[in-house]
Amino acid sequence: MSLLQKPWIWSWIGTLAVCLVIIGISGLGAGTQVLSAALSFGTFFVIVAIGQMFVVTLGPGNVDLSIPACMTLASTVAMKVMGGSSTMLLPGLLIAIAIGTIIGLLNFGLIRLLRIPPIIATLSSSFLFQSTAIWYNRGLRVKPPEPLADFATAKLAGVPLLAILVLVLTVIMHVILHHSLFGRAVLAVGQNSRAASLAGIKVERTRLLTYLTSAVLAAICGFFLAGFSGGAALNMGEEYLLMSIAVVVIGGTSVAGGFANLPGLWGASLFMFLLVTMLNTLGLSAGIRLILTGAIIVGVIAISGRRGRT
């Protein structure tokens, strides 16, 4: 398969194009700075998008809408427990992961036991988690321990440290998707769940693991985002709902299920951040910016969709 037929290539072509425009407008120096910022923010998109990608790949109707609430709840509880103390760092991270695990189990429980469609199950559970976060902390912003803030904003030769770690995570998830039993099972269930079950795949176990992965990654993302942005806030997950889905789709993962790829998540995350930055740099009014954002996303998906078909 040639490079142009890869489903993720279009998100990268888009990123490159936007990059060139930004450099053209503001020069190479400012362009590099923007790119570094894109890596910082894009990293958080990628973490949640990995989980969302696995969920979407399970097939039509599978989507995790509880990602923002999960991020908020996990980071709020973790920050409050740590209370700014650096000795509590590890317990704080473990608590965030534990909350992600519980949320994943709850989501799957609603889907499996009560037979609620995933889109409704995760939407309603997200109200539950969001309200819990409000009740728990009354909307106060708790500062993260200093080492966490330092870690989340640290740079290695100009590249955010977190971005490097998430890149490693992406490679691991790539291997899991394409070369492990779990990945093969997710792809099989997404294409034809009945055939998967008749071929001996444990369909429900696969779905459980997938929703679990998504919630745990969202919790981890919330934990580090709180460190990055100076604390957990109730609205911190807001843009991550649509962003996680947009990044997955622009990255070339099939909404119909059964096809997924990891490189596209990075391309799409950078693209989304740079696109907004570029429109800002052009000094356009808010209305025009939103219209152009929508139009460009539609354009990228239309092009990649046409090329992707064989």
Partner: protein
């Protein structure tokens, strides 16, 4: 039946898919009032030719003549319909979420306005009654909830039903493969009546008996070309098989595990009326009866029990499943042939947490040669294969898995004679080595390969026949009259 009066004539048709030449220089015609039988092995080009005739594919070369007009350049599905062509595809094309009447409406745009559902219902019921009297299908039934046999009946009835343009030629691609014997007979007798009134039919079937009984003229295809064409009287079974390019093995149905029904029982499915379904090690057990009498459900129950998700049955080992309804139950449409084969054995291929790609390819190559899957490259998508070859992939998937029990849900649909004989041989070989098979089939000939046959009726086992009692008469009696079988 001269060429001049032909409804449609194909001249020098060629078609290739990439490097694969699917059709080369095919000349073919159909006259009014004629039933043309079309036979050939899987991948011989029958379905491709029919797809060209019905406007789904356009030919690379050649003419497509209606009267004196060559339509090859501007032919389409709509043009085919306008010329009175209808096609019943091997892969069913009904919308599963709609009712029978709503599906009928899709191909009849002239049914409209208030009460369209009622009009469509009347139309489809009329044709179902005409072709399959006693079909038991309601126009309001949701298609997805019907058995594959009933879906096939709806598909056939819909193809013959006419509103605006008269139906002149109906292509039946493996129409009887999903039907039981009684419904298949109803269809073939209707085909006779249809051709008597001047309609034409192209009948594609691997059941050579049906072709010899129903067709006026037979066309044999091999490797993308027509190799023989003659009036039916000029053919017999042996010649057909010879022209198709394989040797007819004598009915070499030799018993494998004769009367060894005492030790090594691997399956018991208790029956509510007293006859349990038992399977022993190394045995081929057939499930017979009219289609849709609970045979598939029994297989699914056994499969669930083997996977530990349900325990209505006792099964001591793992089980693999060969789907008959391959679109719904079998094929992973986005995957390569290799991945489609390896999926049931994937747990055995894991080394250090990862799937060993070499082992996976080895398994696929092994079974490609053993069962003869026609492809140059196992990383081609499975949908690049013809229907019969896809079915071979499903066999390879189950037989290649380590499961000691293989459950087969009428798996020979659309499979040609040569392959069937290869598969029978593999089954016997595997049974001799201790594998057990539970085989639901609607074909009498296949039951002769079984060591023991259970006949189903109304969701129950009504009779268990050891090998020497497996005759068509015994099975029919048990299928229709539970009392006589007891």
């Amino acid at each position: 039946m001269t060429d001049r009066s032909a409804i449609v004539r194909l001249n020098g048709i060629g078609k290739s898919f990439g490097a694969v030449q699917a059709l080369r220089d095919v000349t073919f015609h159909v006259a009014p009032g004629e039933c043309v039988g079309l036979v050939g092995h899987n991948g011989a080009g029958k379905s491709t030719l029919m797809n060209i005739l019905s406007g789904v594919l356009s030919p690379d070369t050649g003419e497509l003549l209606f009267g004196d007009q060559d339509l090859a350049a501007r032919y389409s599905v709509a043009a085919a319909k306008q010329n009175g062509l209808r096609c019943v595809y091997q892969e069913l094309s009904l919308c599963p979420n709609l009712s029978v009447a709503e599906n009928a409406r899709i191909t009849h745009p002239t049914i409209r306005g208030i009460g369209w559902r009622r009009k469509a219902a009347t139309l489809i019921t009329t044709w179902l009654d005409r072709i399959f009297p006693g079909h038991g299908i309601g126009p309001g039934d949701i298609v997805g909830e019907l058995s594959i046999a009933r879906r096939q009946m709806v598909e056939i009835a819909r193809a013959f039903s006419a509103t605006q343009t008269p139906v002149r030629l109906v292509i039946l691609d493996e129409p009887t493969s999903s039907l039981d014997k009684a419904s298949a007979d109803q269809l073939l007798s209707f085909v006779g009546r249809f051709t008597e009134t001047g309609g034409s039919v192209i009948l594609i079937s691997h059941m050579l008996g049906e072709i010899l009984d129903s067709a006026d003229r037979i066309v044999v295809m091999r490797d993308g070309g027509v190799v023989a064409e003659d009036a039916t009287a000029a053919f017999d079974r042996a010649r057909l098989v010879r022209e198709m390019g394989s040797v007819l093995a004598e009915d070499a149905a030799t018993p494998t595990a004769q009367a060894r029904r005492q030790t090594d029982r691997v399956i018991v499915l208790p029956g509510e009326n007293g006859i349990p379904l038992e399977v022993f090690k190394g045995e081929i057990v057939g499930l017979a009866g009219i289609g849709g009498q609970g045979q598939t459900d029994a297989l699914l129950t056994l499969f669930a029990a083997a996977n530990g998700t349900r325990n209505h049955a006792e099964i001591t080992t793992e089980a693999a499943f060969v789907a008959g309804d391959r679109q719904t139950d079998g094929v992973f449409p986005g995957w390569s042939i290799r991945r489609n084969i390896s999926i049931a054995s994937i747990r055995q291929m894991v080394q250090h947490w990862l799937i060993d790609a070499r082992k996976e390819l080895g398994l696929a190559q092994d079974w490609q040669t053993r069962i003869g899957i026609r492809t140059e490259d196992l990383s081609n998508p499975i949908l690049s294969l013809s229907g019969g070859n896809q079915q071979k992939v499903l066999f390879a998937r189950a037989l290649g898995s380590p499961a000691p029990v293989v459950l087969m849900d009428d798996p020979m649909r659309g499979v040609d004679i040569g392959t069937k004989q290869d598969v029978y041989a593999i089954l016997k070989d595997e049974a001799a080595q201790g594998r057990s098979f539970v085989w639901y089939t609607t074909e009498m000939d296949e039951l002769k390969h079984c060591d023991f046959v259970y006949v189903f009726r109304g969701g129950q086992v009504v009779s268990g026949l050891p090998r020497h009692q497996v005759t068509e008469a015994n099975i029919l009696r048990a299928s229709f009259d539970a009392a006589a079988a007891a």
